[in-house]
Amino acid sequence: MRILIIEDDAETRAFVARGLGEAGHHVATAADGRDGLFQATEGGFDAIVVDRMLPGIDGLALVRMLRAGGTVTPILMLTAMGGIEDRVEGLDGGADDYLVKPFAFSELAARLNALGRRPVAQAEPRKLAVADIELDLERRTVRRGGRKVVLPPREFALLAELMGNPRRVMTRTMLLERVWDFDFDPKTNIVETHLSRLRSKLNAGFEEDAIETIRGAGYMIRGG
């Protein structure tokens, strides 16, 4: 992917650029809002990372300008604030995702992957199928290898999220946001507990674990 990073802090910029470069992405950087806006409008990026606080033009104004100018490139906003109003304003302003500083690199990478390869405006699918698992979103049924698996609502939502993002690592935070609508980290291991219950139901009678754990990063559906 070609990724543009607009971040005024040199160290953070270098850290993100280095990591993304090592992961095989093409990275361009801008140190202020004006340069960032200029590069972003040139086009050709698959994703843009924008810091909320920037000298010149601030991050939020920059996103609004890009969206007003017709740029549809997915944008991920970074922020160092408490994060409630900034999140709402960022998303309302046209950002697609949002990450509060500090973040683990794996979190940023996972989110950029999810953004960059987002399928273009496709009608919501009714059925998902990955490897030998089929999930019917309307009837709310799951089958693995033809055998019916009964799941409570949260475990179903968790599996649907993983299957809706094949070949992408879903981090714990992403799952908390998308399945539980949490923008905070509960002290209780909700994600881990639900995943382990989901796993034991999916894997009953099968050799292969249906869900892969990517150490230090998150979870991924196997065989996507």
């Binding site: 802090d9 160290e11 953070t12 850290f15 606080m53 160092a80 604030m81 408490g82 994060g83 409630i84 109003e85 709402v88 509060v100 500083k101 500090p102 683990a104 690199f105 409570p152 609502p153 949260r154 539980w180 609508d181 949490f182 923008d183 905070f184 980290d185 509960p186 002290k187 209780t188 291991n189 909700i190 507990t193 639900h194 219950r197």
Partner: protein, 458 residues
């Protein structure tokens, strides 16, 4: 609540504007009444004295009538006077020593004693003011003045005072109402502005109409105070935002460096680096929690409030916690009314319930029952997370909602003592509050209100 509709539930009615103005008008009316009564008494007394004076002069004149036979001389004078039909309404009666009428047409009996007396007239059953005197050489002379004029004057006076009293009452009541209504309308505008400011809108100001009245002066002073508070708040926000940016940036770098170093290091060193990274993250967590509490306390979050199906959300949350609760040997009771809804921030409300559940599950031993109750009573949403665990010292409980305060029972477990401070901040942002629920074990009760949209003048 002290500010709620301050005409509806005034505890001391005489201290409200209407009350004060009404009190003044009643006092004025009473003063009018007292002055009226005094004037009436004085006038009445003066008129009576005038009547007495007239009878006295007449009596003296008759007794001084020349002639050797006193009775005959006086009788002659009386007859002359009665024939003249004078307009001064005096009546005469002259009797001899045996009590027989000698002259005078006054119809009635001679009073038993000498001096002034009310005289009852048989003819027209009216009362006159009479003076009875002894005639030298035997006999009595009675001169009576008609009281009709006095009574008429009394009636006129009473009518005048009654009218004045009534007018005073009416004017007073009208004045009280007008002053009260004007004052109240003005104070209501100030009240509304203040409520908006309490509600988080720091740009609201007291109304000033340029009249230069006392209200304008007070409003002006309050506005200058609000400007100052606004500037201080802005300053504070700027500082916390600077702190967030300036301190979190180096911490973020540190965290990133540790992240990178960990992947490159040998296993022994990686472990040390991992521990350091965890410490750095913990610091950053404290920062995040503090900044979040500050942001919620600034009330700006209210701008994004919308209707939340809280019953469903909390019910789902309890179910999400069930596996963990059961794994740690807790019993989780779901007493959530699924129909409860509220205007608020869904994620903040979820975080509040989640914090309370985290607390209850982490700080109580296995075998503890944790109840989550959500209901609506009198338009207020009540949320209770209660456990029957060992509980805590009641004195300690009071401090739990302050930042960084931790109870003795949680010293051994992880946490920063910010959880309940956050719970209270979220409750206050939702027009409510959080407190300790007394009973078995430990419990937190949160009341959430609806934003006040009613007009206080109604």
């Amino acid at each position: 609540m002290a500010v709620e509709g301050w005409a509806a539930d005034v505890r001391a009615p005489w201290r409200s504007t209407f009350g004060l103005a009404g009190l003044v008008s009643i006092l004025l009316a009473l003063a009018t009444l007292v002055i009226g009564i005094a004037a009436y008494e004085v006038t009445h007394e003066a008129l009576e004295q005038q009547l007495d004076h007239r009878t006295a002069i007449e009596t003296r004149a008759l007794l001084a009538e020349p002639g050797a036979d006193r009775l005959a001389a006086i009788a002659g004078a009386i007859r002359r006077r009665e024939a003249e039909q004078s307009v001064d309404h005096l009546g005469y009666l002259l009797v001899d020593a045996e009590g027989r009428r000698v002259a005078g047409s006054l119809d009635g009996s001679v009073p038993a004693s000498l001096g002034y007396e009310e005289f009852y007239r048989h003819g027209d059953a009216r009362v006159s003011q009479s003076l009875t005197s002894a005639v030298p050489g035997g006999g009595r002379l009675v001169v009576a003045a008609d009281r009709a004029a006095l009574e008429e004057t009394d009636r006129d006076l009473l009518l005048l005072f009654a009218t004045a009293f009534g007018a005073m009452l009416l004017l007073g009541a009208g004045g009280a109402w007008t002053v009260g209504a004007v004052t109240r309308a003005r104070l209501n505008r100030i009240d509304r502005a203040a409520l908006a400011i309490i509600g988080g809108d720091l740009t609201a100001r007291m109304p000033v109409d340029g009249s230069g009245s006392e209200f304008d002066r007070v409003s002006g002073t309050l506005n200058r105070m609000l400007d100052r508070i606004g500037a201080l708040m802005e300053n504070l926000r700027q500082v916390s935002s600077d702190v967030a940016h300036d301190l979190r940036t180096p911490l973020t770098r540190l965290s990133h460096r540790l992240d990178e170093a960990r992947t490159a290091a040998d296993p022994a060193r990686a472990q040390a680096l991992e521990a350091a990274a965890t410490q750095a993250e913990e610091l950053l967590d404290i920062f995040a929690a503090l900044l979040r509490i500050s942001e919620i306390e600034a009330m700006g979050v209210r701008r994004h409030f919308r209707r939340v199906a809280l019953g469903d959300a909390v019910g789902d949350l309890v179910e999400s916690y069930r596996p963990d609760a059961e794994a740690s040997g807790h019993f989780l009771l779901d007493e959530v009314d699924r129909d409860v809804s509220l205007v608020g921030d869904r994620r903040l409300l979820l975080q509040m319930v989640s914090n309370l559940l985290d607390n209850a599950l982490r700080h109580t031993p296995a075998g503890t029952t944790v109840r989550v109750v959500l209901d609506t009573l009198d338009g207020k949403v009540g949320l209770r997370v209660l456990d029957d665990g060992p509980g805590i010292d009641p004195e300690e409980a009071q401090r739990l909602f302050q930042r960084f305060s931790r109870s003795e029972r949680s010293r051994s477990t992880a946490g920063h003592g910010l959880g309940l401070a956050l719970v209270r901040a979220i409750a206050i942002a939702h027009h409510g509050d959080a407190g300790i629920e007394r009973g078995t074990g430990f419990g937190v009760v949160v009341h959430l209100g609806q934003p006040r949209t009613d007009d206080p003048s109604r």
